[in-house]
Symmetry: C2
Subunit: 251 residues, 2 copies
């Protein structure tokens, strides 16, 4: 049995607590919330506190707060036996300021309040300072997810950038596509089968090989036609993206 205290009241903290409650061999000792208005999120069966002094003993303390608050929260979990971990993709293990054992427990996924998600399919990237702490985190990770990776702070910082491309920037491409549809009386849903096919391809084919389109073919006439029809907001981005593809494929 591994005991955990989860610190934070956001989406990630909420989803983590839920998945720990459903896992075998994990006990949620306590949830720490700075914002007491969020107490109502949790059932009365869970011990919830807003006081660092009242933090219970646990094998793992999971800090799931905004990046800028990680250091401050960790400073308040001193003189503890358990491993203190943060859950951030973009931060090194060294951002933790507690005196005891440190680690990282980073779920590589995007979380929204509105959408339920199963941790089973979320890759968990873990890191610790020594083998013993690593094994504790590994056991905890395996209790909720089928895919657990050992990832160093340096790798994770690159992984976080890759995730910005794969998630944030991909979503922005869809936002622009949606905008163009709206402005031309086209239903955005017309594009969804295309987007789904684009993504379903990458489990079989490398995206590098799957690339198609005017920039891949270096079809300057089509690119010119498109640029003429784009507003200034999208024109620069279209050009930057096309040039990036042209550079990659037409060396």
């Amino acid at each position: 049995m591994i005991s955990v205290v989860v610190l934070g009241g956001g989406n990630l903290a909420y989803h983590l607590v839920k998945s720990f409650l459903n896992a075998d061999n994990v006990r949620v000792e306590q949830v720490f919330l700075r914002d007491t208005s969020k107490f109502s999120l949790y059932s009365k069966k869970i011990d919830v506190t807003d006081s660092y002094k009242r933090l219970k003993k646990a094998d793992v303390y999971i800090i799931a707060v905004s990046d800028s608050a990680i250091s401050e929260v960790s400073e308040n979990i001193n003189n503890r036996q358990g491993v203190v971990v943060h859950t951030s993709g973009g931060n090194s293990i060294n951002i933790l300021k507690n005196t005891g054992a440190k680690g990282v427990f980073y779920p590589l996924q995007t979380f929204s309040k509105a959408k339920e998600i199963s941790f089973k399919n979320i890759p968990l990237c873990i890191e610790a300072e020594n083998e013993q702490d690593f094994r504790v985190l590994e056991r905890l990770a395996n209790a909720v997810s089928n895919t657990v990776y050992k990832i160093t702070s340096e790798q994770r910082s690159q992984l976080h950038i890759a995730a910005v491309f794969a998630n944030n920037f991909t979503n922005h491409m869809l936002t622009i596509a949606e905008k163009i549809c709206k402005e031309n009386d086209l239903p955005f849903q017309i594009l969804i089968p295309l987007v789904e096919e684009t993504v379903s391809k990458i489990s079989k084919l490398s995206p590098f090989e799957a690339q198609t389109g005017p920039a891949k073919r270096n079809d300057t006439q089509t690119i010119k036609n498109h640029l003429k029809k784009l507003d200034s907001y999208n024109k620069n981005l279209y050009l930057a993206l096309s040039n990036s593809i042209i550079k990659l494929y037409n060396k």
Copy 2:
């Protein structure tokens, strides 16, 4: 029963012929191939020709060739009763140079030889010069697809740009993510659940609302950290994409 002649030997022509053969109320009269080496693609039951003079009578002639060849092929289908259509997203109906009826039959999807695909879920965008021709194309489209849209040439040219963002540029984001993974000894598959979740969101939530990440939050510190770690190839693109998001959300 609607009779069709398909002209072209590429992926799209091949998938079109296959879906027409499987459809009720559609008869494939003939396939026209300029490249006779591709004859072997089709069973001996289908009449295949490389001569415009031997083109059979049909209700619809479907030109599924590269954009630059559409005009030339259409010029050779003169004095015919049927509607001559092209299948290109980026071209107006006016690119057709036949003397008779003209139209467009544009399947909004990406096709690859390696991957089978069902036309049932592919949006078909159709256009004709008059109501009567439109009804013929509509019947043909409904015979193979569940989603048929009436789209003008002007709308289609914008839709084609939206598709470049939704497919080509999205795929390029994934290519860069894959590249970063490879360079840092990370398996690309670690990102696939994230990409799948990003895309699955948009059937429930507008991508505009679903946006997350450092640029959305205008988190300049994280953006700076990322820029420091990117090579020059990706740095400019990261910046252009981040600025585009910042502009959209932080007005």
